[in-house]
Amino acid sequence: MRLLLAGMILFSASGCAVLHHVQVGEVDGRTNVVSTPIDIKVSETGINLGEAKDIAKGLSRNKQTQKDLDDLEAIVSLFQQGPRTGNPVYSETYAKDLILELYKVCPSGRITNLMAIRETRKYPVISGEIIKIKGSCITERSRRSAHSTSTQQNI
């Protein structure tokens, strides 16, 4: 019972957020523009093979099986060498359409106050590899006022 309770506490507390990288672009502080907030998030599921192996070893009482799991994890990790942030994902191209998403929310393309955030949401074995883009879509306030005036005149 204590073990179950400890496991539940550990599971609930293990949904941790890890910040890898933050980058801030140029900031437009003008007050004569209309600034519409942009918030885009793309993510992919990452797998931590080390944690999966540890859980599998914990569930198995056969020492040969535990040794085989260690060997298997060591072999797979040889193919996952190199610098990275977060856990390995199956599809590393999950962020390639980020520019298109930006143009969808801001067709004018006049984007400023950009902040790119690379973070990970960690859970047991799996993780969410997240890229967030926050910014502002700029519209000139004077142009909108002129457009409104001309629209009213036409009516």
Binding site: A13, C16, L19, V22, V27, R30
Partner: protein, 105 residues
């Protein structure tokens, strides 16, 4: 005079505390630097994390708002974004600093 094991442990513990509080640089980025660099503005946000239990990163969201507030009716360019971690044994302080140059329009 021989030092007891307890005293050695206490000395080692204090020594450990002295060498903690170390700062490590996680990442850094820089946007194009303007020619006019007279008015520098800076924004900082931080979060203290105990034992690595961090459940959100929302503390970074107001970084650009801080810069905009310090440079009203202007542009902030040449922004250096620095992400650093200060470790105090079991407590970590994550600090994001953005420093740039305010150019009035």
């Amino acid at each position: 005079m021989k030092t007891s094991p307890i005293k050695k442990s206490i000395i080692a513990m204090f020594g450990t505390f002295l060498v903690t509080g170390c700062v490590s640089l996680q990442s850094i980025s820089l946007t194009p630097i303007p020619a006019k660099r007279t008015n520098q503005v800076s924004a900082t946000t931080s979060k203290t994390v105990f034992l690595g239990f961090n459940f959100d990163n929302d503390y970074v969201d107001n970084l650009t708002d801080q810069l905009r507030a310090k440079c009203q009716d202007g542009y902030v360019k040449g922004i250096l974004t620095k992400d650093e971690v200060t470790s105090y044994l079991i407590v970590f302080k994550r600090t994001i600093t953005a420093t740039g140059y305010c150019l009035k329009s």
